[in-house]
């Protein structure tokens, strides 16, 4: 496998009337081609904003930290995403090397333009296809994602398709430009379980066929367990744990990940009590000092957690957590 993207020290703040809000704080990760990374966290953890930063797709009041470095490794050499300025330059990344699938497919298609027209439009922007070629490719893609009678569907509008069908069309559209990286932001959350299972299968097939990397954003750890190779867990803009899917789910190292798993109802043991994480996620305007999770953490260790930002420490060869529990150095003195 070859390296697809490196994200280093991604920090993102938003200028608002109430002051500057930190949405993403010093996040680093990388992804290989053909690899699926699950990005997990509660609402407000900054997972969507992180993913959108990879194409600088954040509103104008977004301020990136000076140390932020995002490198996309394409066939023609590395691209420094942060240095891209104009919309023309951004085209290499947005919809070109990176495609995005949203949660709500109804809101992501223009309602008054047919599905096919929208697919052709973006193909013509990003490729050198003629209109006829673009149409041919689009119909082919619709067929590939399991939409029956694709040439009829091509001419239909979003409202004429069911939820599962729309999400398939969204995937077809996102993949028709053959992106290197696909960002899927809660792609199955709005779907019923039986349809979710179909869409997950489809996405798995497509990864192996196209060999692209996927960043799969979800709050559903079950979906992560079934799709991802590795997992990154976020809390309040911070990456708190990273590792292979087996390590993180079977041997969670960060108290937050453990809390998430304990709160999850599973069918394996229906008598197990559900243990909520105490308290609510703090407002981004009042980010706790030290470890951002210390206000809700069950395993707080004295004053250190409130004072010192934990570093990432290795728990296993491919598994790391940002928690003082795994970095006892400070206690040695």
């Amino acid at each position: 496998m070859s390296r697809l993207i490196d994200v280093e020290n991604l920090t993102l703040q938003f200028d608002t009337d109430e002051g500057r809000i930190t949405a993403v704080d010093d996040v680093s990760f990388s992804l290989e081609a053909g690899e699926v990374m699950g990005l997990v966290g509660e609402s407000g953890s900054g997972k969507s904003v992180t993913a959108k930063s990879l194409m600088k797709l954040n509103p104008r009041n977004a301020v990136y930290g000076p140390d932020t470095k995002i490198t996309l490794h394409l066939d023609d050499g590395p691209v420094d995403v942060m240095s891209l300025q104009s919309d023309t330059e951004m085209k290499i990344v947005r919809g070109g090397a990176i495609s995005l699938i949203f949660q709500e497919p109804m809101a992501s298609f223009a309602p008054a333009i047919s599905i096919g027209e929208q697919m052709v439009e973006q193909l013509m922007i990003h490729t050198s296809f003629s209109k006829a070629q673009a149409k041919e490719v689009s119909v082919e893609m619709l067929d590939r994602v399991g939409i029956s009678d694709p040439s009829t569907r091509f001419g239909q509008y979003a409202f004429e398709l069911s939820g599962g069908m729309r999400q398939r069309a969204m995937i077809a559209m996102a993949l028709s430009t053959k992106p290197r990286l696909l960002i899927a932001d809660e792609p199955t959350t709005a779907l019923d379980v039986t349809i979710q299972a179909q869409v997950i299968d489809l996405m798995k097939d497509l990864v192996s066929e196209f060999g692209m990397g996927i960043i799969f954003i979800t709050h559903d750890l079950g979906v992560i367990a079934q799709t991802a190779d590795k997992v990154a867990v976020m809390y309040l803009g911070k990456l708190v744990e990273q590792g292979t899917v087996r390590d993180v789910i079977r041997r969670p190292a960060h108290p937050y990940t453990r809390g998430l798993l304990a709160a999850l109802p599973t069918l394996d043991d229906i008598d197990a009590p559900l243990t909520p994480i105490p308290g609510d996620i703090p407002s981004p305007l009042e980010r706790p000092s030290g470890c951002v999770y210390h206000t809700r953490c069950q395993e707080v260790m004295g004053s250190r957690c409130a004072a010192e930002v934990p570093r990432f420490s290795r728990v296993d060869s491919d598994h790391a957590a940002a928690c003082h529990l795994h970095d006892p150095q400070g206690d040695a003195s």
Binding site: T194, L260, L274
Partner: protein, 331 residues
């Protein structure tokens, strides 16, 4: 469970009219068709199904918030006995104090212009259940405390609260009239898992504390498995299987229930690809298939399923299933 049921749906159908031609029979959508369920007092009854299965409509019909086209819903809490189909205006008003609904989206369900105190007090004032403002305040404080909201919270507006806190406000409002029966329609679906666990635990605690009976509508089978004692599965307006929770999850008999259970993503990363996959999607209720409604997606369908609609049969104690082939499949 030999208790007399608190609420019973008897061959209940809910039809919505469709625009049709002037001649011939009036077309309609059968959102709920011939559904019978009994909910005993103090139980946590789960109702599951995909979107379009009619679970919300059934829940609303049991609150008399959807039209009852055929059959009836009977309510009997020992103080009053109502047939919801023939309810006078005064009785309906009384029924509203005894049966309440908790909505799905705590962001949409609370008026942004009212304080939390006013939101919770509104049902008391509208229904005229209290005689003085002092009495209302006391009742509001009491119920708020049960839902872990403090006096300070009561003065604020909903925008100041997180999703979990808002859902606790919605619960307090539903409980303030001291109802006997609560319909919770996807009440935790919009919440994060850590908060969801908190709200589920709260619902359970309140149920035991106040002796409530719940109809818990959800698409999430793992949640239902954890909180409900009895589960009914719906598909395209029909009841396909109903059983005590343990029985349903250990020995599901209907192919649809089996498929639903196996479609839940397992937390075990080495369990991939074992799921039994359903093809296709739920048909439109305006044009339901003949015979068994599930036959278009059922891997077990035979010719009989395409012409004859299966009736509910007993498959064990309190376990009912509507499938022509469940006996063969059970072996």
């Amino acid at each position: 469970m030999s208790d007399k049921p608190l609420i019973t749906a008897q061959n209940l159908s809910v039809h919505y009219p469709l625009r049709g031609s002037l001649l011939g029979p009036k077309p309609y959508v059968g959102a709920v068709e011939n559904v019978s369920i009994e909910i005993t007092p103090g139980s946590f009854f789960g109702l599951v199904g995909e979107s379009g299965s009619g679970k919300t409509t059934l829940g609303r019909a049991m609150l008399r918030a959807a039209p009852i086209s055929k059959g009836d819903v009977l309510f009997d809490d020992g103080e009053v006995a109502y047939s919801l189909k023939n309810l006078g205006k005064k009785e309906l008003k009384d029924y509203r104090t005894r049966a309440q609904l908790i909505f799905q989206d705590p962001y949409a369900a609370l008026s942004p212009r009212m304080t939390v105190r006013d939101i919770i007090a509104e049902p008391l004032e509208v229904m005229g259940l209290t005689n003085s403002r002092a009495e209302t305040d006391e009742r509001v404080r009491e119920i708020a405390a049960k839902c872990r909201l403090n006096v300070e919270h009561l003065r604020r507006f909903p925008h100041a609260f997180s999703g979990g806190q808002r859902q606790r406000i919605s619960i307090a409002r539903a409980l303030v009239s001291a109802p006997k029966f609560i319909v919770a329609d996807e009440s935790v679906a919009a919440l994060d898992v850590s908060i969801q666990a908190d709200v589920l635990n709260l619902l359970k605690a309140i149920q035991q504390d106040m002796g409530l009976t719940f109809l818990f509508i959800s698409h999430d089978l793992s949640v239902v498995a954890h909180v409900c004692d009895h589960v009914a599965v719906m598909y395209l307006g029909r009841l396909v299987e109903t059983a005590p929770t343990r029985t349903l999850f250990s020995t599901p008999r209907h192919p649809y229930t089996q498929a639903l259970l196996s479609a839940i993503p397992s937390l075990d990363p080495d369990d991939r690809g074992k799921a039994q996959k359903l093809e296709g999607e739920i048909p439109s209720p305006t044009n339901p298939p003949p015979g068994c409604k599930f036959q278009t997606r059922c891997p077990m369908a035979i010719d009989r399923c395409r012409v004859e609609e299966p009736a509910l049969e007993s498959a064990g104690p309190e376990h009912h299933v509507a499938c022509h082939r469940w006996k063969e499949l059970a072996v």
